[in-house]
Chain length 326, copies 2
Amino acid sequence: MEKPGEFEIIEKYFAPLSGRGSFALKDDAAELVPASGNSIVITQDAISENVHFFGDDPPQLIARKALRTNLSDLAAKGAKPLCFSLALGLGIGWDETWVSEFARGLAEDCDQYDILLSGGDTFQTGAGFVISICAIGETSTGSYVSRLGAKAGDLLYVTGSIGDGALGLLARQGRLSGLDPDQIGNLKSRYLLPEPRVEMSGLLRKYATAAMDVSDGFVGDVEKLMAASGVAVNMKASDIPFSNAVQAAIRLESKFLDTAITGGDDYEILFSVKPANKARLEEAAAGLPFPVTQISVIETGNSTTVFDNDGVVMEFGSTSYNHSDT
Amino acid sequence: MEKPGEFEIIEKYFAPLSGRGSFALKDDAAELVPASGNSIVITQDAISENVHFFGDDPPQLIARKALRTNLSDLAAKGAKPLCFSLALGLGIGWDETWVSEFARGLAEDCDQYDILLSGGDTFQTGAGFVISICAIGETSTGSYVSRLGAKAGDLLYVTGSIGDGALGLLARQGRLSGLDPDQIGNLKSRYLLPEPRVEMSGLLRKYATAAMDVSDGFVGDVEKLMAASGVAVNMKASDIPFSNAVQAAIRLESKFLDTAITGGDDYEILFSVKPANKARLEEAAAGLPFPVTQISVIETGNSTTVFDNDGVVMEFGSTSYNHSDT
């Protein structure tokens, strides 16, 4: 089958995902008119074959993962998604079916998350697939939630559960056994398809003193928030929320606790709240489709410490997954 | 030498290029507050090793080319650069020196073009280098210049000269001989380092009925502008502006005319102007550091035709360089 050209791919598969201001992707750029009094929030996450996904992962899931990692960042900043720009680097093995499935996955998520494709670029890498998405959101000026505002005394919360993505990767690689098939399935799907916590953005704008996306390993991300805000925290591992599958894996092999809290791919949101807002936050969060769990209280200082179930300080080889490590 | 990690690279080399709203690249995103009454203009261009550049090209030039291709798109839309997001896919052969040189090239252009780094992502591709930049500009709402507004009777202009990039690529590959070393040097440097026509953006906002960046091959790009606006054009090859080096190459081998006008990598701006504005445009353009040349008058219809020096219609294998062709 002859492969379609760049412009045919854009017209046939990507133009239908665009909207007003994008000129059906026939222009060099897109125009966006932000609502008066609003700021633009810009984030970019790239994923690369054999680093962030496997070449034989379903193309729809690769597309959705690429978009969702960006939606997770926007949500953590309290921003509403507006549009995204896609640089699609086609790997050697691409064909029209791959592109069509990839676009189908993107289309589903554009609908689900109410975001439009503004444009981008399609090219060949000569090697593996690389997908780079720059997502743009909007928030009322003054309500952007950075990592810098946490104060001693604030309560530290996290959404959802930690470690499913990291153990899902192990399951995907056949390196996790002893769990029942449902649990294995749950972990794999958390790795393949993150669930960005977009429902949090309103509550973060209202109550969070600082927030960030948890994606590079929970402990390392807590360290980053503490460092950015100039504060400290002591946590018990038993206060970190884990799914049943992750709990079962840790019971089977205690080393999986380390994997779960440093392995990355969580796409949860870590945030801090003033104690005076605890009741209001928790009441509002009770209506969300995922748990929101207080894990500690922030202190003065400049350290992040995790205690295991025996009250011993945990030591980690690395507190986060560093994609540039060699 | 041990290679630095992702966060070390960002802190050491890229944070110095960021500005207000980017939190020294320590946050998940950046916040941009557009001036009241302004629209945001978003564009994205990616470049990939062995497709758009060579692995042994100087890293500063790769960085500057990646940024400048985006600045060319913003200029063609009449937009002022604001910030850009960088997804840097490190190839297998990267080391700290490469990153440091790459960042130095970016820094030079950030200064030259008054644009800030808003954030992005650094990752390893496991193969060649891939650089994807999403650039964000600003224009007063209502003055965005699309490809759609050209009308029959409008005059068609192009900036600078056509074909230097395409022949520069041949020179770089050692496939161009018979020119003097100065001419070869000029062509190579046009290929390696585009000169985005940022000085045009004000005049385009004022006078252009349609405009686009010429980067994928001149004839194919003219076809795209005509198709987007629903108009036609007849051009003489002799009316297309060529540098002395390109003219000399065509004199040596007439096939280089085809290469020059379909080969791509020009980063010039093609635009249309109402006849009533001809004098005002040309007077203002006379002060620019590059020529602005009228090449034809737009007509009704839906075709793009180029006549050679003998008045014969030129036929092309492909009118543009299609990066997804296989």
